[in-house]
């Protein structure tokens, strides 16, 4: 059994190697079969593991080989599966498999289809490595690997310079975060002389609450999470990352990779528990990010950009949950979010597919009758993310809101407002895309068609999951009535160190429920009136005014970064290049060959080819030798 778990990541790796090496020599059908079966097999094994956990298994671990042995540092390339990993495994391989299936339809006609599928497999491998590592270094290897795959896939259509720049931006932003992660690891090793989860967490339990070293470690690790999970101030890469093919946005930039930061914080919950200050920072950053991204989402007109900002916002929700100590709730939201956000992205892909590459919702409208399946599934996703009661997003989001209420009512107000905004921009997106009149060109209208079933089938599966996925974590009042437990919390509980209880009075729960319903009904009514009845279409970019313009331009954060960081850096490096590099470094580098060449030509002079001179020099050498050793 312990050995079998190493198959989970190795199968997608094998798929990557096979497809990567044979590439276009493989028939397209085989590419799809290989990439899909490897991920499906991983999913089956993961599911089997999951069942064994339900039956009461504790954890599995195995070491493939010793990896680094240096001084006191002994690290193995070792895997570990516990309850937390099991949940992540199901999400990664399950949602990953559905997106692989979808990709067959979506990418089939791309000339680089095999390369795309091999990258997807490679990504799944690295993501599994990330969640299955039994120490921080293996996690970091996976962490870097998914970053690489993200870069490769954002710039998949590498002939477009903008896409390449987007990939580079993602990579650079992530590197900033990775730097923090690395420093955090160094500090962990210095403090605990180990990087193994078990050893570190055991040792950490002896530290007092609020220990400054632990606070430093957790903050540094969080810097890594901020980069990978696109939080303020490093979130700007995620909207740009939408340059990649849509399945990539669904898999990497919505369902899995961006939740790596959340996973890392949950994995290190022992450390975060010991540092209330870090918790405050995490919650605060999460809150600001959630609010800010939601406001930007209100004014975006690119279907994928709206979803991207929504992802940033939802990730903010997760971090708020982690920050206030509700780790299982955060993970719960990771799972439900994976369902509905992957669904929304794939639906968006289906729409883009039908529209012939058009992504601007101002050119859409009325797609309901052309894309019936996509329409229904998209609606399910919208209902889920908006938190309509009994849809999956409702359960996880209400749990987060409840936890913030316990922590700080002010934070609760901000988060409640943010979830309202979520509903607003999602419904706006929905109405503008699927209702009203078609606003695209005549040519586009003729081509509108529902996607093939290989694409719609994953949509349906994800839609079902988005609808019912929440029932594994029912709120207290509901589970009490039905006599079932909060299955999700109980499953993950063993991984959490001294879990907090966030039980509220039923009055609160009910008022929250009522408030949610009323607010959502209002949102539904007003957005419908505005975008369907009054047929309001967002104005063209040039006509946008005042604060709306600030929102449409994403608070000018990219421009501010450009002015505050990039330009001064460019100026400094320009200066160093002109003064230091050209004069000093180049001078030295060019000087060495000059001296060498001069010496060489001098030495060559001695090699005259005349025997007599050779003998004389040889004798001189012997005389020197004697003088050197015997006479002095």
């Amino acid at each position: 059994m312990d050995l079998i778990i190493s198959l989970i990541p190795l199968l997608p790796l094998a798929g990557f190697i096979l497809i990567g090496v044979l590439n276009k020599k493989l028939p397209k059908g085989m590419v799809g079969i290989i990439s899909n079966t490897t991920v499906l097999s991983s999913f089956i094994i993961s599911f089997y593991l999951f069942l064994s956990f339900i039956k009461g298994a504790d954890s599995y671990s195995t070491e493939l080989f010793p990896w680094i042995n240096a001084g006191g540092l002994h690290l193995g390339l070792s895997f570990m599966v516990d309850h937390l990993t099991a949940v992540m495994l199901l999400v990664i391989t399950g949602v990953g498999f559905l997106i692989h299936v979808y990709s067959i339809g979506y990418m089939q006609h791309d000339e680089d289809y095999p390369r795309f599928m091999s990258y997807l497999n490679l990504f799944v491998f690295f993501m599994l490595l990330l969640v299955m590592g039994s120490n921080y270094v293996v996690m970091f290897a996976g962490w870097e690997g998914v970053g690489l795959c993200s870069y490769l896939l954002i710039g998949f259509w590498f002939k477009n310079t903008d896409y390449n720049n987007a990939g580079r931006k993602a990579f650079v932003m992530n590197r900033i975060g990775d730097f923090g992660f690395l420093l955090g690891m160094f500090l962990i090793y210095q403090t605990f002389s180990s990087l193994d989860y078990k050893e570190v967490f055991e040792a950490a339990k002896n530290y007092p609450k609020g220990d400054p070293t632990i606070t430093a470690i957790t903050l540094l690790l969080f810097v890594g999470a901020v980069g990978k999970s696109a939080q303020i101030p490093l979130y700007t890469w995620l909207p740009d990352a939408m340059a990649g093919p849509t399945p990539v946005s669904a898999l990497i930039h919505a369902a899995t990779m961006v939740t790596a930061g959340v996973y890392m914080v949950i994995r290190s919950n022992v450390l975060y528990m010991l540092s209330p200050f870090s918790g405050e920072v995490v919650a605060f950053i999460g809150m600001i990010t959630a609010l800010m991204a939601a406001t930007i989402g209100l004014k975006q007109n690119d279907i994928k950009k709206v979803l991207a900002y929504s992802t940033v916002s939802q990730l903010g929700f997760m971090f708020v949950a982690l920050g206030v100590g509700a780790y299982t709730t955060g993970l719960f939201h990771v799972v439900t979010h994976a369902f509905f956000k992957a669904l929304l992205f794939l639906c968006a892909g289906s729409v883009i597919h039908a529209m012939g590459g058009e992504q601007d919702i101002r050119r859409m409208g009325g797609l309901k009758k052309y894309l019936p399946v996509t329409h229904i599934t998209f609606l399910m996703g919208v209902l889920a993310i908006s938190g309509i009661p009994l849809f999956s997003g409702f359960f996880s989001k209400d749990e987060i809101l409840a936890a913030t209420w316990v922590h700080s009512p002010l934070m609760f107000v901000v988060m409640a407002f943010t979830s309202l905004l979520t509903a607003v921009y999602m419904f706006r997106l929905y109405w503008l895309t699927f209702h009203g009149d078609f606003r695209g060109t005549h040519h586009q209208q003729e081509h509108l068609h529902e996607s093939p079933s290989v694409m719609t089938a994953p949509l349906m599966v994800l839609a079902i999951l988005s609808v019912i996925g929440g029932f594994m974590g029912m709120p207290h009042w509901m589970s009490e009535k039905l006599g079932v437990h909060h299955v999700f919390n109980e499953f993950v509980a063993p991984v959490i160190y001294s879990p907090k209880e966030f039980i509220l009075s039923h009055t609160f729960d009910f008022s929250l429920l009522i408030g949610t319903i009323v607010a959502l009904a209002a949102v539904y009514y007003f957005t419908r009136k505005m975008y369907v009845a009054d047929k309001v279409v967002p104005e063209e970019d040039s006509e946008t005014k005042s604060f709306q313009k600030v929102l449409a331009n994403k608070y000018y954060v990219d421009e501010i970064y450009d002015a505050v960081i990039r330009k001064p850096l460019d100026a400094i490096s320009e200066m160093f290049y002109k003064i230091f590099d050209i004069n000093i470094i180049d001078g030295i580098v060019n000087g060495i060959p000059k001296v060498t060449n001069l010496t060489a030509s001098a030495a060559r002079m001695l090699q005259t080819g005349r025997l007599g001179i050779y003998l004389v020099v040889m004798v001189i050498g012997v005389i020197y030798l004697f003088a050197f050793k015997l006479l002095l």
């Binding site: 060489a600 001695l606 090699q607 003998l615 050793k629 015997l630």
Partner: protein, 458 residues
């Protein structure tokens, strides 16, 4: 012991094969003789025996070096199959190579200064002739004559040194000399030390150490390419085996006297060899200078004797000999087909035969000392052993001069991957002509990945 006999017999048989009209079987016969000798050599592993009144000695050191010498010669035979068959005097040339190898084996097995001298002369005299074996070529004749003249001169020094040592210790036997020196350390006459310097001169001449290196570029460049290959690989190996054995086994008690000489010689040799090689346009001449530089690195083993210097020297020699054979295989074929020897004549090799170009790259990387090939570990072991010997300054110079080396070794690699100068450039008659290159490239890589298997032998 048996090895020496078998090699001599094979040599004599090769010489007489002409008479018995067995010329066709000559090649197979020689290879067979080498294989049998190889088996007997390996068979002696772990045994310690002396022969001929303690004049010849077999121990693990001798076994390792003998095996390496025969193995390298075997590879050399494989790559020069067509050279001698095209010659009218093929049997003599085969015989001379085999005799020369016999001399080399004697130089690793000696336990007596007379055997050292005999071995060196058997090795050298055969080479004087071989250097001039391209009779119609003026440069070949010049090389032969120069080599002979300066070689005789150096032999004079060696003999004089042996005489002085005998005068001081009244023995030719290594053990006896060593015991005598141990006993009388501090009260040895001045001419004993003079004897050491004389022997040192004679032997460092053979390994082409500065300032006794002047013959090397001319001889290496002028001799037929295959003979040069043999000199660079087998002869250098035998000479270093003898030098190391003599100084470690015999003059160890007075090491303080000769260590500085080797250290300075080593530094000057590697610097001068590498710097001069930078300027060469001819691949052959560049490799001749680079061989001088490599001698400098190998001398580091004598500058810091003891510890792991023995296995470091062994590994370095092996890595160097293998990569030399590989590169010279290419050079020989290119020269044979196009008559050119410049570095740029390998341009476009990758286009024509990617595998050959990659193997050539491995060999060049090995020479430059870049991981993961054998040459890197040769240098690594050597530097570690020298650092342990306390000669940090020497290692610094060695690292710096390696950097210079990278420059000209990479010229060859870059050329191999560049576009060809002429369309349809021929680099060889048929791909199998480069078999030895493939073997050497793969061996370099294997030794680089699993160096401890060989380095652990000594």
């Amino acid at each position: 012991m048996n090895t020496i006999v078998i090699l001599s017999v094979t040599g004599i048989a090769a010489m007489m094969s002409d008479v018995f009209k067995l010329k066709k079987a000559l090649f197979g016969l020689s290879l067979l003789g080498l294989l049998i000798a190889l088996v007997f050599s390996v068979y002696d592993w772990g045994q310690y025996a002396t022969y001929f009144n303690q004049m010849v000695l077999t121990d693990n050191y001798a076994v390792v070096f003998t095996t390496m010498l025969i193995g390298i010669t075997f590879l050399w035979f494989l790559m020069s199959k067509d050279f001698f068959s095209s010659h009218s005097s093929a049997s003599e040339h085969y015989a001379l190579i085999l005799f020369s190898l016999t001399g080399g084996v004697m130089m690793t097995n000696f336990s007596d200064l007379t055997i050292l001298f005999l071995g060196l002369e058997i090795l050298s005299i055969a080479l004087y002739i071989l250097a001039g074996s391209d009779k119609g070529n003026l440069f070949s004749n010049e090389a032969s004559l120069k080599y002979f003249m300066i070689g005789s001169f150096a032999t004079g020094f060696l003999l004089f040194g042996i005489a002085l040592i005998y005068g001081a210790t009244s023995s030719f036997n290594l053990q006896e000399i060593s015991a005598y020196v141990q006993q009388h350390n501090g009260s040895l006459p001045m001419y004993f030390y003079a004897g050491i310097l004389m022997i040192l001169t004679g032997l460092t001449f053979k390994v082409s150490a500065v300032p006794f290196h002047f013959w090397a570029p001319d001889v290496y460049d002028g001799s037929p390419t295959l003979v040069t290959t043999y000199m660079l690989s087998v002869v250098k190996m035998a000479a270093f085996a003898a030098l190391y054995r003599l100084f470690i086994y015999c003059f160890a008690p007075v090491y303080e006297f000769w260590i500085p000489v080797f250290a300075i010689m080593s530094a000057v040799t590697m610097l001068l060899g590498n710097i001069t090689a930078v300027y060469q346009k001819s691949l052959k001449r560049m490799l001749a200078y680079s061989s001088i530089a490599h001698a400098g690195y190998m001398l580091m083993a004598l500058a810091s004797p003891g510890g792991t210097s023995r296995s470091a020297l062994m590994f370095y020699l092996l890595a160097y000999a293998i990569s030399t054979l590989g590169v010279f295989n290419v050079l020989y074929q290119v020269h044979k087909v196009t008559g050119r020897e410049e570095i740029k004549s390998v341009k476009g090799l990758f286009r024509k035969n990617p595998f050959a170009a990659i193997m050539l790259t491995l060999c060049m990387l090995s020479m430059a000392g870049i991981p993961p090939v054998a040459g890197f570990f040769g240098k690594y072991y050597m530097f570690v052993s020298t650092l342990n010997g306390g000669l940090t300054w020497l290692v610094l110079i060695a690292v710096l001069s390696s950097l210079i080396g990278v420059y000209f070794y990479f010229k060859v690699i870059i050329a191999a991957f560049q576009e060809p100068e002429l369309e349809n450039t021929a680099y060889y008659r048929q791909p199998s002509d480069l078999t030895v290159l493939y073997i050497c490239g793969i061996l370099s890589l294997l030794l680089g990945i699993l160096p401890q298997f060989v380095a652990g032998l000594l």
